[in-house]
Amino acid sequence: MKNFFKATIFFIILILLIIVLSKVMNPSGGVKMWYSSNSILDFYEQTKDTIDVIYTGNSCIYSAVSPLEIYENTGITGYNLSTGGQKIWSSYYLIKEAFRLQKPKLIFVEVGELFSYADVEQEREKRYVIDSMEFSLNKMEMINDNIYNFSFEDKLGCVFPLFRYHTRWSNLDETDFRKIISKEEIMYKGYDLVKIVKKYTGKRQEHGNKARAQLSADAEKYASKIVELCKEKNCKLVFIKIPDPNVWTEEKHNAVVDLTSRLGVEYIDLSYDNLAGINWETDTQDVGDHLNIAGAEKISNYISDYLVNNTDFEDHRQDSKYTSWNMDLETYNLKKQQQN
């Protein structure tokens, strides 16, 4: 019995050490390339049941929708739960995780990620999401989902990132150790503030093509799952397209129109219809791939109007429970001015 007790203590300490070292070795939140993973890490820092709206998708949306901008305009809180190259199935699990921690009543899904193909998904695109998520049933379900095609060793590496990233030992720096003690919010409620201007001079998006792009069966499946999940949680779902002229085509647009009508989901097209009034001379940071702060302000203003006109969310600006939001807003505005 004494030996059994000793062995139990030994293995408990071993697992604790593996957990701590996993946090150190996990590049999420530490490595520059993994910047967007902060969107998920910061999400866990949000006070429970304070987020009204969730925005999710890939880099298109985290560089275009600023929840603090919308809060300043409307007093409605939101969070941009998006990572680079995110796929629709990862969005599904992130929405599940959002429902575990918050009670959002509206979810925006950026439809660029609907054109996702599991067989060409890069490992880092999966891991930005998985390695930033806390240990939960949602994460376990996600890891075991065949869509990710994880081997047994991969799954072990998802639960204990030490096994996946052990080779990072020679590249560790102080941020890797600091992040296990305290976590500062790095993004602005998931929004990535960029001021760089690199104008887009390519073709303008105009209607006229009737062809339909092919959606993968997997994408449709997870889009339907999101619809079902939102219904179950009594949450409104809106599909949105952020302007993205280099990748977005009318064939894709048409396919999404068909899909949203099949699923009975509202679709806001800010790309072909340019409803937010994006100016490609001034509003993009990288020749049309992503919007900069000027573009994000326009998109956020458009969404602010949409929220005011189409929802009945309360204005939290005077609510003492949301004081931290006002403080975050000050920091955000300061950052905007600094950049100016």
């Binding site: 000793k6 030994f10 047994f152 996946r164 052990h166 030992w169 020679s170």
Partner: protein, 526 residues
């Protein structure tokens, strides 16, 4: 399921639990079923080959035993001594035929699967014919279990052990999973009873076994798989390297194969020990050897003893060798050479067997003959060597002389490893020649020579520290220290710090996962 995988560790844990709760009478069946599951997971349909081998040796052994028993019963009714002798000889002859059938049958499977391609290719070249060349996927551990199977029937023939009447027990002896991957090659008289007798899962066996496994993983994953990056880098592109780089690659390969093979043996011995089953040691610090002869008594010991018992002795006692002995006595009278010549034939068989066992291909034959030549030349020149030592008054007890002997042995072994590792014989010769072609020395001074095959400075630092630990442990063991016994006597805090250190050294510094090519065990491919 590789033995250096998480699945293997989980497999062992589950098995330990089942073994523990199983009634004593059926404990051995757990090992049998587990061994066949392990085999099936690794070789799927090829499991048929190990089954066929098992069935064949079971019936061969039973048949030999029956011949013996029948002869004994008949002998009881015979008074005449001459008649009795005749009967005995007749029975022995019959047994010999049955044994030969058993040996030939099992060797034929091995030769067909492993060597038919090489034999057909060689015949095509020599005779200018066009035989089809087949390349088969080898069943797991065929080179190991075939030797084990043969040793069993030979031991029954020799009366060393009795034929087992239970085929399931024979099956367990042949297929016991820890030793299937890369040995050690077990003997029926040492292993069988251990396998069948029920063992209690004790805390001591669990800790000692897991410590040995950890040490094995450390050697395999931190040392062998890391140095393999460098070795593979140089051997794959040997034409572009010369001098010290080739030497470093050869020494690196020697380190790799030693750390890997002995590490693999530690893993399986540790796993087996947890069930209370002690597998024989296969290594005894071979690089302390002062001669090549001694090296082979310390390296892959169970193969060496197998070849000694089942090749060297039978050939030594064969009619051909007896004729050779008589011939040698006539020619050399009582001189030293009269003793040397008779053993040349059995030694040749042993080393050809050793070479062939390692693989099909000319380089493996040359590998065996290389050691044969060293040993024969060593024996031939032994008197000359002794004379030189006495003339020069060399103190053979001085540590410096012993060190010289060790380094000399290492040198010979490293050349052997070059033949073994090189792509083919021609590549081995080219690499050997390029050792003496020293140029681009600046590669050494600017560090480029060390950063081959994806090695980084950090990798080199880890490799050096791990190798120093490896050597330190070897020195302690060579000086008679029982590492695990003395470790068990240390205080708990110290033991745990060391164990955590070892575990995390393997997890963090182990060359596995992405960024590393998983290295299968070199000796697991036989």
């Amino acid at each position: 399921m590789l033995i250096n995988s998480i699945q293997f560790i989980l497999f062992i844990i589950i098995l330990l639990l089942i073994y523990k709760i199983m009634p004593k009478k059926y404990k051995w069946t757990v090992l049998l079923i587990a061994s066949y599951i392990f085999y099936f997971l690794n070789s799927s349909k090829l499991i048929a080959f190990i089954l066929v081998s098992t069935i064949s040796i079971y019936f061969v052994a039973i048949k030999m035993q029956k011949i013996d028993e029948k002869a004994k019963i008949q002998a009881k009714n015979i008074e005449d001594k001459e008649e009795k002798k005749k009967l005995k000889n007749k029975a022995k002859k019959k047994k010999k035929i049955v044994l030969a059938v058993g040996i030939i049958f099992n060797l034929a499977i091995l030769v067909f699967l492993k060597y038919s391609g090489f034999i057909a290719g060689s015949l095509n070249t020599i005779l200018h014919i066009n035989l089809p060349i087949f390349k088969f996927i080898l069943p797991l551990g065929i080179s190991y279990y075939t030797l084990q199977a043969i040793s069993y029937i030979v031991d029954v023939y020799r009366g060393k052990v009795e034929a087992d009447k239970n085929i399931a027990r024979v099956a367990l002896f042949v297929a016991y999973f820890p030793q299937l991957v890369q040995g050690p090659i077990g003997r029926y008289d040492e292993l069988a009873n251990q396998l069948y007798n029920p063992h209690e899962i004790t805390f001591k066996n669990l800790t000692y076994g897991s410590e040995l496994m950890l040490w094995g993983y450390f050697k395999k994953m931190v040392i062998a798989d890391r140095v393999a990056m460098y070795v593979n880098g140089v051997f794959a592109d040997y034409a572009n390297y010369s001098g010290p780089i080739i030497i470093m690659a050869i020494i690196g390969y020697t380190l790799q194969i030693y750390a890997e093979f002995s590490g693999g043996i530690d893993i399986v011995r540790g796993a087996s020990q947890m069930f209370g089953i002690e597998l024989v040691e296969n290594f005894k610090r071979p690089f302390y050897s002062k001669s090549v002869d001694e090296f082979w008594r310390r390296w892959n010991i169970t193969l060496g003893t197998w070849l000694k018992d089942y090749v060297f002795y039978p050939v030594s006692l064969s009619k051909v060798t007896l004729k050779l002995t008589n011939f040698s006595r006539k020619i050399f009278k009582t001189s030293y050479f009269a003793k040397i010549v008779p053993i040349s034939l059995p030694l040749l068989c042993v080393w050809l067997g050793n070479g062939f066992w390692h693989g099909s291909g000319l380089k493996y034959i040359v590998y065996g003959l290389y050691y044969y030549a060293i040993m024969m030349l060593g024996k031939i020149f032994e008197p000359v060597g002794k004379k030189i030592i006495s003339l020069l008054k060399i103190n053979v007890e001085a540590w410096s002389y012993k060190l010289w002997q060790m380094l000399r042995t290492c040198g010979f072994v490293c050349i052997g490893m070059l033949i073994f590792r090189a792509e083919n014989l021609n590549a081995a010769i080219q690499m050997f020649k390029s050792i003496f072609n020293v140029h681009n020395l600046e590669r050494i001074f600017n560090g480029e020579a060390f950063l081959i095959g994806g090695m980084t400075i950090a990798d080199i630092v880890v490799l050096i520290i791990a190798t120093v630990i490896f050597i330190g442990i070897s020195i302690a063991k060579e000086h008679g220290k029982n590492i695990r016994e003395s470790f068990a006597k240390q205080n708990l805090a110290f033991r745990w710090v060391i164990l955590y250190g070892l575990i995390f050294a393997i997890i963090v510094f182990g060359a596995y996962g992405q960024g590393y090519n998983p290295q299968s065990f070199i000796y697991g491919q036989f």
